[in-house]
């Protein structure tokens, strides 16, 4: 789960990292008032959970409350990479002398936590690594022992830090690691870390926490804001369906992430466009699950056909068929289905669907391979 900039900053501030003065607003009027409070010169920043908002025009300076209001009118409601901007963060303009970078990540290759810092801030860490490889510094540390002071000292002195900058960096690195471990962050980042006359401030803030650990951090789970996601994805999440919206017209349902991806890939190879990724997961013994998945895919108005690809390792196929039938009975609109059923009692399942198809006039095609299914689905999608 990725937190918004303003949410991450609140957490940073709670742990003693300096942040610019600022407030969140949802209307241009609020933005104007906040800008007045902050002395007029502000930055208005779109709060969206995707990168590149700056280039997309989602971050703008304003030199008066009135200008802030005008800027906010443009930013609020705009769409950045498919995410509608519903909130902005209004912050004081900083007099930035230099921009540094500090980040923390769970390095999955080395299976270790790592702090990364650089004197080259303001650009992506990948870009720094590519353009200034000597200016990227890493501290890998033992997750059991935690980040030791001497490890930070070693890295900072090696990188040539001294004096007050050393002290500020030391402090921020220790706090960032503390935040990471407190909230079980996959990644947290201050970029740029603004060097100002008032000290080091987090000009931007990123904090991605582990979804699997949210049960240990209910205060974070509450921060998840529904407004940002694609509405179909949000609804799926609330229903516990593993769904990703892709924008094509061939709906995909498979049990298993790998199988779903392979199905999408073959649809694409056959010249089609998958509408979504959907992994039903296990538990298909209950027909309700398949019913909910199919009904969900049909909510996407672009979907012209649904390819259901089930390898029933545990479940018997008649339960899957039952779920499909329940969904078709309830569905608001009719779209053709392409069905590949494999596993226990696959014949019974197929028979049930064939009977239903002939009785109710539902358009259901049976296939024996994923390739055949993909070809048929693409053909039906037109």
């Amino acid at each position: 789960m990725r937190l918004h900039e303003h949410q991450a900053k609140q957490i940073f501030a709670k742990h003693g990292i300096g942040i610019p003065r600022g407030e969140v607003a949802t209307t241009p009027e609020e933005v104007e008032k906040i800008a007045e409070k902050l002395g007029g010169k502000v930055v208005v920043k779109a709060q969206v959970l995707v990168g590149g908002r700056g280039k997309a025009g989602g971050v703008k300076k304003a030199n008066s409350p009135k200008e802030a209001r005008e800027v906010a009118e443009k930013i609020l409601g705009m769409s950045i990479k498919g995410h509608k901007v519903e909130k902005v963060l209004v912050e004081e303009q900083l007099e930035i002398k230099k921009e540094y970078y500090v980040g923390y990540v769970v390095d999955k290759v080395n299976r270790l936590p790592a702090v990364i810092f650089s004197r080259m801030g303001g650009m992506d860490v990948e870009e720094i690594a590519a353009k200034h490889p000597d200016e990227i510094h890493r501290i890998y540390f033992d997750p059991l022992w935690g980040l030791k002071d001497y490890e930070v000292r070693k890295a900072l002195f090696r990188a040539g830090f001294s004096g007050d900058e050393y002290k500020q960096m030391f402090d921020i690195i220790k706090k960032l690691a503390e935040i990471a471990f407190t909230y079980e962050a996959e990644l947290t980042e201050i970029n740029p870390l603004a060097v100002t006359s008032e000290g080091f401030l987090a000009a931007d803030a990123r904090l991605n926490v582990d979804d699997n650990a949210l049960y240990r951090h209910p205060e974070l789970a509450e921060l998840r804001e529904a407004t940002e996601e694609n509405p179909l994805e949000r609804e799926a999440r609330l229903k516990g369906i593993n769904y990703v919206h892709l924008g094509g017209n061939v709906g995909v349902i498979a049990n298993g992430a790998g199988l779903a991806m392979a199905t999408m890939d073959i649809i694409n190879l056959m010249g089609g466009k998958p509408a979504n990724f959907l992994d039903t997961g296990g538990g298909l013994a209950d027909p309700e699950k398949m019913k909910n998945c199919l009904l969900h895919v049909l909510k996407d108005p672009n979907v012209k056909v649904v390819f259901i690809n089930i390898y029933a390792e545990i479940t018997r196929c008649e339960k899957v068929a039952e779920g499909i039938i329940l969904a078709l009975d309830e569905a608001q609109r009719k779209v053709p289905l392409v069905v590949k059923l494999a596993g226990t009692n696959e014949d019974i399942g197929r028979e049930m669907l064939e009977r239903y198809s002939s009785e109710k006039g539902a358009e259901i095609y049976f296939v024996d391979s994923v390739e055949e299914g993909a070809r048929k689905a693409v053909e039906l999608a037109g």
Partner: protein, 288 residues
């Protein structure tokens, strides 16, 4: 031969009295796996499908001489179950549980440095050496004995592929599901090394997917392998930044794309199949 499990493997099921544990214990027994015990704290002294249940792994190992454990325990308790299995000195620990927090997994890897056990998973379907032993939830019908080693990050996709192979008369030495988490215990490289050394295995099929760098690391090792490798990568159409079900299946920045993985594998000499049917052709090609 085969790798990881065979007819001599003695298995205990942690969480055997739970719904999934009990069901899968039965299926493993039906397959012929030597399921010698189960563990559920507080249920010691009872039986499940004729298998004795113990309160602790320590006790189960002492009484049954088990060398392998399979864990069907909810995510909140699975890490402790893994540690208990390590502590009892088991050779192989298979963890099926999905949704173990990332920081727990970091600590599991930290613990692995201190112990001698191997961990398969978490969030994996397990391992089967067809005709010998199955430790996991892989469906029997997809597999038959043979000389192809299979290692995979996904479940049903692998069953589908293996069923196609089996129908085409191509049997498997061992099929290993390393699981969909970003930091699995045994990795592609670990398993490829075992297949390379296994006499029964003549060729290897690697089923990968987007996310992480496991396939790239595998490619580096494949360069040194004497046995032919066929590969399939799922997720070419996945957009960046979206998690495709598996916690590990996500393209972040420029890392983890199917294109990069396919290129690395091809570069290493592996035959990369475009479709599932191509996989069968590819394997037939290398097995001759």
């Amino acid at each position: 031969m085969a790798i990881l499990v065979d007819e001599n493997t003695r298995v205990i099921v942690q969480g055997i009295t739970g719904f999934q544990g009990s069901f899968q214990a039965k299926r493993m027994l039906d397959y012929g796996t030597k399921v010698v015990g189960g563990v559920t704290p507080g249920k010691g002294g009872t039986e499940v499908h004729g298998v004795p249940v113990f309160n602790t792994v320590e006790e189960a190992v002492a009484e049954t001489n088990a060398d392998t454990s399979i864990i069907y325990v909810p995510a909140r308790f699975a890490t402790d179950a893994i540690f208990e299995a390590f502590d009892a000195g088991l050779r192989l620990v298979v963890c099926v549980t999905e949704g173990i927090p990332l920081y727990d997994e970091m600590l599991i890897h930290r613990k692995l440095r201190e112990v001698k056990s191997m961990l398969l998973g978490p969030n994996c379907p397990g391992v089967i050496s067809p005709g010998k032993s199955k430790v996991g939830l892989l469906p029997d019908r997809s597999f038959m004995p043979g000389n192809l080693g299979v290692v995979s990050r996904s479940g049903t996709l692998t069953y589908q592929i293996c069923e196609n192979l089996t129908k085409a008369g191509i049997g498997q030495s061992t099929v290993v599901g390393i699981g969909g988490d970003p930091m699995p215990g045994l990795t592609f490289v670990d398993v490829l090394k075992m297949f390379e050394e296994d006499e029964e295995t003549k060729a290897v099929l690697l089923v990968g997917e987007i996310g992480g760098t496991a396939e790239e690391k595998a490619a580096e090792f494949i360069k040194q392998m004497s046995k032919p490798v066929v590969a399939f990568i799922a997720g070419r159409t996945a957009p960046p930044g979206k998690r495709m079900g598996h916690a590990g299946a996500i393209i972040e920045g420029n890392m983890g794309t199917a294109e990069a993985k396919i290129a690395a594998l091809r570069d290493a000499g592996a035959r990369v199949a475009e479709t599932l049917l191509d996989v069968v052709k590819g394997v037939r090609g290398v097995l001759g």
